[in-house]
C-alpha cells in the first residue's frame, strides 16, 4: 500500500470509526488501545501486516548497561596468549574509544576469568556464569556479530530502541503498538518492566524516552508496570472507596455523559464512556494478572527464589509470561547494572545470578505453554564491552569499557532458527569478522518477523517519512526459521 494512503488510514479517527455505528462499548474501548485493529476492521485493503507474521508478540529482555560478551558468550582462546599484552594497533585501527579509556596509557588485553564450555548442536560457548542459558543452547539463536554506532549508554540505548542516537523518535514497542495495535483485552499493547541489578557499581540510569512514542500519538507510549505500589499507576481506588462505590459513581458518570452525547453529538463522549468502562475492567483484571498465587510450585522453582520478590528480574520474567498469555504485543524488560567498568570479576556474577535462571526459565516456560510458537524472546544490551582492560589489570581484578564494534545477543522462539549461531568476531573478539548485524538490521528483522516490511512502515512527521530503521537496515535472512 502506498505509504500516504496507509498513513491516512491509520489517522482515521475514532469519530469516523464510530460513524459505522452499531459497535459495543467494549469494541470501542479496545479500539482506543489498538488503532490498527480498528482500521483493519474497517476493511482497509493492504493494511498491516505486510505479510503473514511469524511472531505475534515480543518479550525483549534488555540488559541495560551492556553485559560483557567476553565473559558470557564470545569465547576467545587467543586471549589466553594475549592476556596482559597491549591491544595491537592493527586491531584497534584508531577507532573512537570512550573518553574513559581514550586517555588510558595502556590498553592491555584481558582474558575472561570465567571458564567456558561448548553446548548444543551448534557448539555455542557459554561461560560458567550462565549455566541455565547454556542448557537452552538448542533453543537459542545467538548473534555474536552485533554492532552499533554509539559508544555511550544514553545514545546507544536510544539507538537500539528507536533507531537514532538522539531523542525524539518512537521506540520499537510504540511503532508496533501503532502499526499492529493490541490483541489484549484490557491491557496496553506495550508494557515496560524495570528491575534493579544486584551490582551496585555504575548502575546506569534509564529514561522515559526508551519507551516513548516520540512523534507518534502518545497512546502508543509504553505503560510501566511496577513491582511496588499500584502495578499500573493510579490503578487502585482511593482509600475508603469500595468497588461498589466506584461502580455506582461510574454508572452515574456514564449516564450523565450519555446524556451529553445525545445532546451534543460529539462521538468523543461515547468514546470517553468506553474508556471509563475499560479503566474499570483494568482495575478488576490487573490484580489477577499480577497475583502469582495460582502458579504451580514448579513455576516458582523454575524461575528461582527471586520470583517471589515483586519487581525483581525474576518476577518481571514471570509477569512477562503472564502478559504474553493475555496477548500483550510488546513486553520490554529492563534490568539495570551491567556496566562493569571495574571489578568485573565480582560484579558480573551478581548480575548473572539475577538473570540467568529466570531468563532461561522464561523461554522454557513459554515452550511448555506452547507460547514460544508465536512469541519471540530477545536477550541483549545496547553494546558490548572491550577486549582490553579498563583501569589496572591485576591477578584477580579487571574492568571492561564500552565497545560498539561487537557484541552478542540471543533470540529464542518464533520465526528464528533454534540452536543456531550467527556471525563471528576476530580472534580477539574486537571487530566483527563475518556476518555483521547492525542494530538497524536487528530491528528490520524484528519488524519482519512481526509481518512488517521496515522500508514500507513509515510515519510522516515534519514532512519526512520516518522509519524505525531510518534509511538503513537489512533483513538478517540466515537466522530466519
Amino acid at each position: 500500500m502506498h505509504p500516504e494512503l496507509m498513513q491516512y488510514a491509520l489517522q482515521q479517527t475514532r469519530r469516523s470509526f464510530l460513524g459505522s455505528a452499531g459497535l459495543s462499548l467494549g469494541a470501542l474501548a479496545l479500539h482506543s488501545l489498538s488503532p490498527r485493529h480498528a482500521v483493519a476492521s474497517e476493511g482497509v485493503p493492504d493494511s498491516l501486516p505486510h505479510f503473514p507474521a511469524k511472531v505475534k508478540r515480543v518479550i525483549y529482555l534488555c540488559q541495560s548497561g551492556a553485559p560483557s560478551q567476553h565473559d558470557l558468550f564470545d569465547y576467545k582462546p587467543a586471549l589466553t596468549e594475549w592476556h596482559g599484552k597491549e591491544l595491537p594497533e592493527s586491531i584497534h585501527q584508531g577507532q573512537r574509544l570512550t573518553t574513559m579509556t581514550a586517555e588510558q596509557a595502556s590498553l592491555p588485553l584481558v582474558q575472561s576469568k570465567f571458564a567456558f564450555q561448548q553446548h548444543g548442536q551448534a557448539g555455542m560457548w557459554f561461560s560458567e556464569l550462565v549455566p541455565q542459558q547454556a542448557k537452552l543452547a538448542n533453543r537459542l539463536c545467538m548473534i555474536r556479530s552485533m554492532h552499533t554506532d554509539a559508544v555511550n549508554h544514553d545514545p546507544a540505548l536510544t539507538m537500539l530502541l528507536s533507531g537514532h542516537q538522539l531523542p525524539g523518535r518512537p521506540s520499537l514497542g510504540s511503532w508496533l503498538s501503532y502499526g499492529l495495535g493490541s490483541e489484549a483485552e484490557n491491557l496496553p499493547a506495550f508494557v515496560v518492566l524495570v528491575s534493579q541489578g544486584s551490582s551496585k557499581l555504575n548502575r546506569q540510569p534509564l529514561f522515559d524516552r526508551l519507551w516513548s512514542s516520540g512523534f507518534l500519538s502518545s497512546e502508543h507510549q509504553g505503560v510501566r508496570f511496577r513491582g511496588q505500589g499500584d502495578p499500573v499507576l493510579y490503578l487502585n481506588n482511593p482509600p475508603g472507596v469500595s468497588a461498589e462505590d466506584r461502580r455506582r459513581m461510574l454508572d452515574t458518570v456514564a449516564a450523565l455523559n450519555q446524556r451529553q452525547a445525545d445532546e451534543v453529538g460529539d462521538p468523543e463522549i461515547a468514546s470517553r464512556v468506553a474508556q471509563y468502562e475499560m479503566a474499570y475492567q483494568m482495575q478488576m483484571s490487573i490484580p489477577e494478572l499480577t497475583d502469582f498465587s495460582n502458579e504451580p510450585e514448579s513455576v516458582f522453582a523454575a524461575y528461582g527464589d527471586d520470583v517471589r520478590k515483586p519487581g525483581s528480574y525474576a518476577a518481571n520474567c514471570l509477569l512477562a509470561r503472564r502478559l504474553a498469555e493475555r496477548g500483550v504485543r510488546f513486553i520490554q524488560l529492563f534490568h539495570r547494572g551491567w556496566d562493569q567498568h571495574e571489578q568485573l570479576p565480582t560484579q558480573l556474577p551478581l548480575q548473572c545470578r539475577d538473570t540467568d535462571q529466570p531468563s532461561a526459565a522464561l523461554v522454557s516456560d513459554l515452550a511448555r505453554l506452547a507460547l514460544l510458537e508465536d512469541t519471540l524472546v530477545v536477550w541483549g544490551g545496547e553494546f558490548g564491552r572491550t577486549a582490553y582492560c579498563q583501569g589496572t589489570l591485576t591477578a584477580d581484578n579487571y574492568g571492561r569499557d564500552h565497545h560498539s564494534r561487537a557484541f552478542t545477543i540471543w533470540l529464542a522462539g518464533a520465526g528464528v532458527k533454534p540452536g543456531y549461531l550467527h556471525g563471528e568476531t576476530d580472534e580477539l573478539g574486537y571487530n566483527v569478522a563475518s556476518n555483521p548485524v547492525h542494530v538497524h538490521d536487528l530491528n528490520a528483522t524484528l519488524l519482519h518477523l512481526m509481518g512488517i516490511d521496515h522500508r514500507r512502515f513509515t510515519y510522516r512527521f515534519q514532512s519526512r517519512d520516518y522509519r524505525l530503521t531510518d534509511i538503513h537496515g537489512n533483513l538478517v535472512e540466515p537466522i530466519l526459521a
Partner: protein
C-alpha cells in the same frame, strides 16, 4: 535583565553529562536542537532535514542550515554539563523586588563609603605622628572583647556552665599539653553543648589538632521547629548544610588548602541564626571560599534540639584530636581580627614596611587602623558599612540562577558538518539567514539579535502566519494549516487562506500583540458557535475543518489539573518562584536514577501550598516526567513539538479517578459546598456542578447526582471508617465540622462531576 533571562529558552534542551561521552558531539547536538526548534517555532519549516543534506522538498540548502547554526554555535557552554543542576553559562536573575532592594543597599553603601573617605582625609594631618609612635611602640594588636561571649583556654576544665558545657559519654576528660598550655583530649567521647538560645550572630574561633582524617561536626544546631544547620569538616573539605521544615536542604562546600592531621590548625567560623548563607569559614586565618553544592535530599533527623560544638549527640560525628583556645564572640569578626586570632599580626606587618615602600592600599589600611584606635564614630561607621555589605551579600546570594545564551569572544562562526556528523567538518561559515525566504537582513553585527529582527520583520512571510496558525490550533483543535510545523511544500495548504492572511496581518499591524489576536479569535462569531450540533454534523466534518460549529476539545494535561485545583478552591495563585513537586506515586524517579548525589535523582514531594500551584510550575524531569500530566499527552520535552497528541485512553480515566490530586480536589470542593449549603445537599450539588462545568445543572442531571448522593450517604453511614479514610486523602485538612459521612458522600458526588466528559473539554 528580563531579555537576557528569556534567552534561557535556547538552553532548555536536554543536556548530557554521561561519563565517557564526547563533549563536542553533544555541544553540536545542542546547536542542532536550537536550529530545529527555531525552524519549528518561527518558520514552520522542517529545517532538520537540511542538517545532513540539502532539503529534499523545501528550498533550504545544507549551507543555509549551518549558517543559521552559526548564530547559535558561539555559546560559552560545555558539551557535557549539568550533573549538579544548571549548566554554564548562567546568570543571577534577581526578581524586581530584589533589584530594588539591592539598589537601595548599594546607595547606602556608597553614602557610607563617601563618609568614610572624608574621615580618612580629615585624619591626614595626624597620620605621620601616629605611625612613628606605633613603630616605636608596637602595641600588641588584639581583638576587641566588647562582645565576647565566652572564652575557654582549657587550662582547666572549669568552664562557664551557662555558656559552654563539656559533655562526655563516660570517664573523665583529660587535659594534655596543647597549643597554649593545656588542651583537651578529644577521643570521640566528648563534645560541647552550648546552652541557651542565641539570636545575635556568633563567631567561633578554635585551635584543633586532628589525629584522624575522619569527618567531624564543627558546629550543629537543631531547633524544635525543624530548623537545622550543620557545619562539618572532613580533611580539608568544609561543608555547611542547612534545612528548614518547609524548605529543602541547602549545602555549601569549600576546600581549605593544607589541612593536615597531627598539626595545630586554626579554624574560625560565624553563624547567624536563620541566615545559613551568611556563614563564613576561615582556616589558618584565610577565608574558605564556599560554593553552593547540590542539595542532599535526605530527611534530616532533627531530634533532639540544641546547639553543639565539635560533635553532638546521636548521629553527629565527634571530633578526634586535641582542642585548645576556644573563643566565642557575639558578633561577626572581621577577616583581620580572625587573622590575629590565628596568630597573625597584620598591623605590625604593615608598620614594618618603610613608608616610601608602602602601597597606597597599605597606607590606607594603616590610616584606617589609626582611626579605629582613635575614633569611636569611625568604628561605628565601619560597623554600619559591614552591615550593609553583609545584607547585600545575603541578598545577592538569594538571586535565582538561570541558564542563558552568552556569546564567546570573537565573531560567530561554524563549520558545515558533512552528512550531519559532528566531527566531519566542511567549509567554515559565518551566520546568515535563508534570504530566499526574505532578503532583508538588518544592518549590524551578525548575531542572534540580527536573526530575531529578521524573524519578526513585518515582511517575513512565515513568522506571523506560523504563529497565528498555532493560536488557531489552540482554540479549534486543528490549524488553518493543519501541519502546524510544516509550511513547506509537503505541508497542507490552508483551509481558509484569506483568514490566515488576515490574522497574520492583524498580528503584525498590532505590533505583534498576541492578546489582540487571541481576542479577535475568541470574540469571533466562528468561535462563539455552539458545539451542540448533533451527530450528523460531527460525522460530516469530524475535524471541524469547515468551522461550521464551535470547537469542543479536551483540555490539556495542565489545564485539567489546574481546573480541578481552581474549582475546588485549592489552587494557590502565586506567580513565579521555584518549581514545585506535587503528588507523584513514590519510587518513579528512584527506579530509573543513579544512586549518586547528582541533581534530581530522588523525588521528595513538597508540602503545603507548593502542592497546589498551577501545573506550569510542576518540576519536569525529562527522563521521568510527571505521570499524571504525561497520561494526558504532555510531551516529555526531549525535543520541540508544535502539536501535542490529543488522546482518549483508559489510563486517563484512572488518573482522574484515583490520583490523589483529583480525589483531594473533589473532597475540597465538597468541603466548600457543604460549608456553604450544608443543610441542602441539593443546592450543594447544583453549585458544585456550576463551579466545574460552568453551566446550570439540568433537573434530570441533578436527580442522577442526588441518587448517587443518597446511596453514598447510606453506605458511609453504615461504614464510618471508610468515610474517615476517604476524607483525609491529601494533605489539606477538611474544615467541615458536620458528619463525616456527609462529607464522604458529597466527595463522591464532586468526584463524579470532575470526571464528567464535559468537565475536561472546552465548553
Amino acid at each position: 535583565m528580563n531579555q537576557i533571562t528569556a534567552t534561557g529558552f535556547h538552553r532548555n534542551h536536554a543536556i548530557n553529562d554521561e561519563e565517557g561521552a564526547f563533549a563536542e558531539e553533544y555541544q553540536h547536538a545542542y546547536v542542532v536542537d536550537r536550529v530545529n526548534t527555531t525552524g519549528t517555532v518561527w518558520l514552520g519549516l522542517s529545517l532538520a532535514c537540511a542538517q545532513c543534506h540539502d532539503h529534499k522538498y523545501d528550498p533550504i540548502s545544507q549551507r543555509d542550515y549551518y549558517r543559521l547554526a552559526a548564530y547559535f554555535d558561539n555559546i560559552a557552554e560545555q558539551g557535557l554539563d549539568g550533573r549538579y543542576g544548571n549548566a554554564v553559562p548562567v546568570i543571577k536573575s534577581p526578581t524586581r523586588a530584589q533589584q530594588v532592594a539591592v539598589v537601595k543597599l548599594e546607595r547606602e553603601e556608597e553614602r557610607l563609603l563617601a563618609q568614610r573617605q572624608r574621615e580618612m582625609e580629615a585624619a591626614q594631618p595626624r597620620f605621620r605622628e601616629w605611625v612613628s609612635n606605633a613603630v616605636a611602640d608596637p602595641r600588641a594588636t588584639r581583638v576587641s572583647d566588647e562582645h565576647l561571649h565566652t572564652r575557654a583556654d582549657l587550662e582547666t576544665l572549669d568552664l562557664p556552665q551557662d555558656k559552654l558545657v563539656l559533655v562526655r559519654d563516660a570517664g573523665e576528660p583529660t587535659l594534655v599539653p596543647g597549643k597554649e598550655g593545656q588542651a583537651l583530649l578529644a577521643d570521640g567521647q566528648v563534645y560541647f553543648q552550648l546552652p541557651g538560645e542565641a539570636s545575635e550572630p556568633r563567631t567561633f574561633s578554635l585551635w584543633l589538632y586532628p589525629t584522624t582524617a575522619d569527618g567531624a561536626v564543627l558546629y550543629a544546631r537543631r531547633t524544635e521547629t525543624g530548623e537545622q544547620i550543620v557545619l562539618s569538616q572532613r580533611r580539608g573539605l568544609f561543608q555547611l548544610q542547612a534545612t528548614g521544615p518547609r524548605r529543602p536542604t541547602t549545602v555549601w562546600q569549600g576546600e581549605a588548602e593544607a589541612w593536615d592531621t597531627n598539626q595545630w590548625q586554626h579554624v574560625a567560623f560565624n553563624i547567624v541564626l536563620g541566615e545559613p548563607n551568611a556563614t563564613a569559614i576561615w582556616f589558618q586565618g584565610k577565608q574558605v571560599e564556599l560554593t553552593q553544592a547540590d542539595a542532599l535530599e535526605e530527611e534530616p533527623d532533627t531530634t533532639p534540639s540544641g546547639q553543639w560544638l565539635l560533635g553532638g549527640p546521636k548521629d553527629l560525628p565527634r571530633f578526634r584530636g586535641l582542642i585548645d583556645e576556644i573563643r566565642i564572640d557575639a558578633r561577626i569578626l572581621s577577616g583581620d581580627e580572625i587573622q590575629m586570632l590565628s596568630g597573625g599580626n597584620p598591623l605590625a606587618d604593615l608598620l614594618a614596611i618603610p613608608a616610601n615602600e608602602r602601597s597606597a592600599e597599605q597606607t590606607e589600611k594603616l590610616r584606617a587602623a589609626m582611626l579605629r584606635e582613635t575614633s569611636l564614630e569611625f568604628v561605628e561607621l565601619e560597623r554600619q558599612l559591614e552591615t550593609v555589605r553583609t545584607q547585600q551579600a545575603n541578598l545577592r546570594r538569594e538571586f535565582p540562577e538561570t541558564m542563558v545564551m552568552q556569546e564567546r569572544e570573537g565573531p560567530a562562526r561554524t563549520h558545515l558538518r558533512l552528512r550531519g556528523q559532528y566531527d566531519q567538518l566542511g567549509e567554515e561559515l559565518s551566520p546568515g539567514v535563508p534570504s530566499q525566504l526574505l532578503d532583508a537582513l538588518p544592518e549590524g553585527p551578525a548575531n542572534r539579535l540580527q536573526l530575531a529582527q529578521w524573524l519578526v520583520d513585518a515582511r517575513n512571510p512565515l513568522t506571523p502566519r506560523v504563529v497565528v496558525n498555532r493560536m488557531w490550533r489552540h482554540y479549534f483543535g486543528e490549524g488553518l494549516v493543519k501541519t502546524v510545523d510544516d509550511f513547506g511544500t509537503r505541508g497542507e495548504l490552508p483551509s481558509h487562506p484569506g483568514l490566515l492572511d488576515y490574522l497574520a496581518h492583524e498580528l503584525v499591524a498590532s505590533e505583534w500583540n498576541l492578546r489582540h489576536v487571541h481576542r479577535l479569535i475568541v470574540g469571533s462569531a466562528t468561535y462563539r458557535q455552539t458545539s451542540r450540533v448533533g451527530r450528523d454534523a460531527y460525522e460530516a466534518d469530524p475535524e471541524n475543518r469547515l468551522l461550521a460549529r464551535g470547537p469542543r476539545l479536551r483540555l490539556s494535561a495542565e489545564e485539567i489539573r489546574d481546573q480541578a485545583l481552581a474549582a475546588s478552591g485549592l489552587l494557590v495563585r502565586t506567580v513565579g518562584g521555584v518549581s514545585v513537586k506535587p503528588y507523584q506515586p513514590p519510587g518513579l524517579w528512584e527506579e530509573l536514577s543513579r544512586e549518586e548525589a547528582f541533581s534530581a535523582q530522588r523525588y521528595v514531594q513538597d508540602q503545603g501550598e507548593r502542592l497546589y500551584r498551577r501545573s506550569l510550575y510542576t518540576y519536569r524531569k525529562r527522563s521521568s516526567p510527571p505521570p499524571n500530566l504525561a497520561t494526558f499527552d504532555a510531551p516529555n520535552r526531549e525535543v520541540c513539538l508544535a502539536q501535542r497528541s490529543r488522546t482518549n485512553t483508559p489510563l486517563q480515566a484512572l488518573v482522574l479517578l484515583n490520583d490523589v490530586a483529583f480525589v483531594e480536589a473533589a473532597r475540597a470542593l465538597a468541603d466548600t459546598m457543604l460549608r456553604k449549603h450544608g443543610e441542602q445537599p441539593e443546592e450543594a450539588i447544583r453549585q458544585a456542578f456550576l463551579h466545574v462545568v460552568s453551566r446550570p445543572i439540568a433537573e434530570e442531571e441533578l436527580a442522577m447526582l442526588m441518587r448517587l448522593h443518597a446511596a453514598e450517604a447510606d453506605r458511609f453511614r453504615a461504614d464510618p471508617a471508610a468515610a474517615e479514610q476517604l476524607i483525609i486523602v491529601g494533605e489539606s485538612v477538611p474544615r467541615w465540622t458536620g458528619p463525616r459521612e456527609d462529607l464522604a458522600a458529597m466527595t463522591i458526588v464532586c468526584h463524579a462531576i470532575l470526571n464528567l466528559d464535559e468537565a475536561i473539554v472546552t465548553p
